[in-house]
C-alpha cells in the first residue's frame, strides 16, 4: 500500500448550544509513506479539526464525523475505544502547539515519556526511562540524563518542544501529526525545531501531517500542500508547484501577503480584505467569493467542482482565467 493516510469525503460537525458548526466539509487527503503534507490556512479554516479527526480526539458526543479515514490500513472511524487508544501514540502520534500546556506540570518529563513507552510496549519502568533518555538524545536536548528528571516548567520553550517531539516519537509512530509545532516558539528556535523534525522524519521514515498558517514554514517542510478555507480544501498539490504557480485566488492572496527572501523592500504586501466565514451553516457556494478579487455573480452559485489534474486540485469555477493571476510578481 503506498498511501499511509487516506481521507475520503471527511465532514466534521460540532453540535453546540448555538446550533451546528460545520467545521470541515468534504475533505480528501492522501499521504504517501515517508512524505510530508502541510495543511495551510488561517485560524478557523478547519485544519486542526481535520488533523484531530485522524486520531478521533474530538469529544465524541458533541462531534459528528462522516466519511472515511484510513491510517496505516485501519479504518479509524470503525475502531472501538480500546483499539483506538492502542493506536494513538503507537501508530499515529501528535506534537502539540503549546508545549507548556501539553506536558502534565506535576510529572517529570522523563517519566511522561516513559509512561507512553510502558503503555504501548508493556515494558518495565527502567526500560521506559532508557527509551526516554535515548529519545532525548535523538532530539538533541543538552545533558539529556539530567533533563529526564526536570519538570516541564524547568525547561525553556524550545527545549520543551523538543521533549514533546521526543514523547511523540518514543514509540516509533508511522504517522506524525504536528499541530503548529513552531507557532509558540520564537523565530530562531522555530527553524531549529523545523530542521529537527525534518531530520527525524528522514531518520525514522515516518509520514508527517503538518498544520500551519505560516507559508514559509509550509515551504520549508512539506512535499505536498493542501490549502484550507472555510472547512474545505481549496487547493492541493506538490508544494513547489502550488507555491510557484498558485491556481486558487485564496492561495494567491496568501502568497501575496507573505514576505520572502530577497524581496524588494519597497513592495507592499497585499492583504486579503474581509474576514473568514462563519461556519454556523453549511456553505454551499464558494466560501471565498465574498473576499475574492475575481468574484463574479456565478461564484455565489453552487459549490465549484474541483478542477483536477494528475497531481493538483483546485476549487474555483473561474480557474482558467484566474490561475497565474498573482497580485504581484511570482515567488
Amino acid at each position: 500500500m503506498d498511501n499511509i493516510v487516506e481521507v475520503r469525503d471527511l465532514c466534521v460537525t460540532f453540535k453546540t448550544s448555538e446550533g451546528s458548526v460545520y467545521a470541515v466539509s468534504n475533505v480528501n487527503l492522501d499521504l504517501a509513506e515517508g512524505k510530508t503534507l502541510a495543511l495551510l490556512g488561517e485560524s478557523g479554516s478547519g485544519k486542526s479539526v481535520t488533523m484531530k479527526s485522524l486520531m478521533r480526539l474530538h469529544p465524541p458526543h458533541k462531534t459528528q464525523i462522516t466519511g472515511s479515514i484510513q491510517v496505516a490500513g485501519r479504518d479509524v472511524l470503525a475502531l472501538g475505544n480500546r483499539e483506538l487508544s492502542d493506536m494513538r501514540g503507537k501508530d499515529i502520534a501528535m506534537v502539540f502547539q503549546e508545549p507548556m500546556l501539553a506536558f502534565d506540570p506535576v510529572f517529570k518529563v522523563g517519566d511522561q515519556i516513559a509512561e507512553v513507552v510502558m503503555r504501548h510496549e508493556g515494558c518495565s519502568y527502567e526500560a521506559g526511562r532508557d527509551r526516554a533518555l535515548e529519545m532525548m538524545e535523538c532530539v538533541h536536548i543538552p545533558s539529556p540524563r539530567k533533563r529526564l528528571d526536570a519538570y516541564p516548567h524547568e525547561m525553556s520553550g524550545g527545549m520543551r518542544q523538543r521533549a514533546m517531539i521526543a514523547l511523540a516519537l518514543a514509540c516509533r509512530p508511522t504517522v506524525l501529526l504536528a499541530d503548529e509545532p513552531t507557532t509558540a516558539l520564537d523565530a530562531t528556535v522555530q527553524i531549529q525545531v523545523l530542521l529537527l523534525l525534518r531530520e527525524l522524519q528522514r531518520e525514522f521514515g515516518m509520514s508527517m501531517i503538518f498544520v500551519t498558517h505560516d507559508v514559509g514554514v509550509a515551504i520549508e517542510v512539506a512535499d505536498e500542500i493542501a490549502v484550507m478555507y472555510g472547512g474545505r480544501i481549496v487547493e492541493q498539490g506538490p508544494v513547489d508547484e502550488v507555491m510557484t504557480d498558485p491556481w486558487h485566488p485564496y492561495t494567491q492572496g496568501l502568497l501575496g501577503a507573505t514576505v520572502y527572501p530577497n524581496m524588494d523592500p519597497a513592495t507592499r504586501l497585499v492583504s486579503i480584505p474581509g474576514a473568514p466565514p462563519q461556519l454556523y451553516r453549511q456553505i454551499t457556494e464558494c466560501a471565498f467569493a465574498p473576499r475574492c478579487p475575481h468574484a463574479t455573480d456565478e461564484c455565489h452559485d453552487p459549490l465549484p467542482p474541483p478542477t483536477q489534474t494528475d497531481q493538483r486540485m483546485a476549487r474555483c469555477i473561474r480557474l482558467p482565467e484566474v490561475a497565474g493571476a498573482l497580485p504581484r510578481a511570482s515567488v
Binding site: M55, G89, M94, L101, R131
Partner: protein
Amino acid sequence: MQTTPKSANALKAADGGKIATKSRGYWATVWLSLSRDPISIVCASILVLLVLIAILAPAIAPYSPSQGAMVDRLLPIGSPGHPLGTDELGRDMLTRLMYGGRMSLLMGILPVFVAFAIGTSLGLMAGFFGGWVNTLVMRTTDVFFAFPAVLLAIAISGALGPGLGNSMFALTLVFIPPIARVAESVTTRVRLLDFVDAARASGANSLTIVRVHVFNNVMGVVFIYATSLVSVCMILAAGLSFLGLGVKPPTAEWGLMLNTLRQSIYVQPWVSVLPGFMIFTTSLCFNLLSDGLRGAMDLKR
C-alpha cells in the same frame, strides 16, 4: 528498538559523574521548601508534639483523667502537684488536657480525612464526566450548602443522638460538599487543558487520564483546602461537645471541658480558658501549616 547496554554505558561515560545528581522527587521538593519556612516548622513541631502527647497520654499523664478529689476542686495554675490546676470536680487539668487532645484531634482530623477521600472522588467524577453525573453530584451538594455548616452539624448529630461516632459522621457529612465542590471546579479546569488531550493522543484511556493526570493535578489543591478544614472541624467538634452532642462526660474532650468549666469562670478564669487555648493553638497551627503547604506545593514559584 531497545537501548543496548553498550550505548547506555557509553552515555554514562559521556555524561560523567558530574551530572549524577538525580533531581529530587515531588514530595522531597515540597518538604525542602517547607523546611525553609520557619512558621511552618514551628507549627508542625507543635502539632507533632500535641499528637505525641495525645498518643502517649496513658503513659505520661500524672493522674487518672476521671478520678478527682473533691477537696482539691478548682485549684489555681501552679498549685503543688497540679501544675495546671484542677477542674470543678478536682481532676488534674494537665491530665485532662492530655487525654482531651486524643478526642479533639481525632474528631478534627478523621472526619476531614474521610470527607477528603469521598469528596475528592465525587468531585473528580463530576468534573471529568460532566453532563448528568455533574448535575446529580453538584446539585446534591448544593442542597447541603443551603444550611450553614454549624447548623448542619448540629442538626445531623442532634437527629442521630449524642455520641462520638454520630458526631464524627455528622462532621464528615458536613465537609463532603465543600471538598467535592473544590475538587469539581479544579477538575473541570484541568480536564480542558492541553495535556489531557496530549495524554489521550498518546494512547491513555479515560481511566488512566483521571487516575494519573487529573487526580495528581487536583490532589494538591484539594489537599491544601482539606488541611485548612481541619481547624474548622476541630472547632465544630468542640462546639458539638460543648452543646452536649459530641462525647459524653466524663470523657475528656476540650470542647466538653470548656463547657463544664464555664460555670467556674469567675472563680478560676485562667484554668477555665485552658481548653479553649488548646483548641485555639491547634487550629491556628493547622491553618498556618496549610498556608505554608500551599506555598511549598506550588512548584512554579
